[in-house]
């Protein structure tokens, strides 16, 4: 079996007392496009609006377009087969590199990077937003009070990581 190599294989994670920045590997990403009803038949409950993720058994479901959903599951999750009947499915597990950012200054680092309101009362756990970091499209997912997962395009992942690490520089011990 050929080995799987991440876009961030070469980087050393950023770690300080207050802030951690690294890669959250091992996920599968399936894009499902189709009308919500037929998708729901296979997938069960779906999020109704873009911006709030839904946790259902061991998957995170995010509505990423009018008739489009992202199913983020475990590494070996194979939902695709079942879904093909219901909708247009596109496996995207390799297209995104997942970067995590955790710590009290995390929201500041994000505010340095994207024109979004990351105030804790505004951008709360389970919420996500599709926006731009360092001129590239990303999906930022708030997975805990001060923990965020950033889905960056694989080919831009290193650049986005370097950008975030540079933004985090002032929080180095």
């Amino acid at each position: 079996m050929l080995d799987r190599r991440s876009a961030l294989a070469s980087v050393t994670p950023y770690k300080s007392a207050q802030l951690q920045l690294g890669e959250a590997r091992g996920f599968s990403l399936l894009q499902v496009a189709g009308d919500a009803k037929s998708v729901a038949k296979v997938a069960g409950k779906l999020p109704t609006r873009i911006g709030v993720a839904l946790k259902s058994d061991n998957r995170t479901i995010m509505k990423t377009g009018p008739n489009q959903f992202w199913f983020v599951g475990a590494d070996n999750d194979d939902l695709a087969g079942a879904m093909r009947e219901a909708a247009v499915v596109t496996p995207l597990s390799h297209s995104r590199t997942r970067i995590f950012l955790e710590g009290t200054p995390a929201r500041t680092v994000l505010a340095k990077s994207a024109p979004l309101d990351f105030h804790p009362n505004v951008f709360k756990p389970h919420m996500f937003a599709m926006t731009g970091i360092h001129h590239t499209p990303v999906l930022v997912h708030c997975v805990g009070a001060n923990r965020f997962e950033i889905y960056a395009l694989r080919t831009f992942a290193l650049s986005v990581f370097e950008w975030l690490a540079d933004a985090a520089l002032e929080f180095t011990d």
Binding site: I50, M130, T131
Partner: protein, 80 residues
């Protein structure tokens, strides 16, 4: 400038790509003669005032949509 994406909400202009005048009637595919296509593609009302126009939320949900923006004030919304 802030642009209201119908799907993601209000976002910075920097997340969007402009798509031009949305009042123009694109000839149906396989229809329209050279003149029709010329007028559609090359001529503009270019009004100073309300302007119905296309934008794509290219750093967001990638959806195309149209809004009315007053080209004299850049105020979005209001009558086309």
């Amino acid at each position: 400038m802030r642009i209201p994406c119908p799907h993601c909400g209000e976002r910075d202009v920097s997340e969007f790509r402009y798509g031009g005048d949305a009042t123009k009637q694109r000839p149906k595919h396989s229809e329209g003669d050279l003149k029709t296509w010329h007028d559609y593609y090359f001529l503009f009302d270019n009004p100073k005032g309300p302007h119905l126009e296309y934008w794509q939320h290219v750093l967001g949900c990638r959806q195309w949509f149209s809004i009315t923006r007053n080209t004299a004030t850049n105020v979005i919304g209001g009558e086309a």
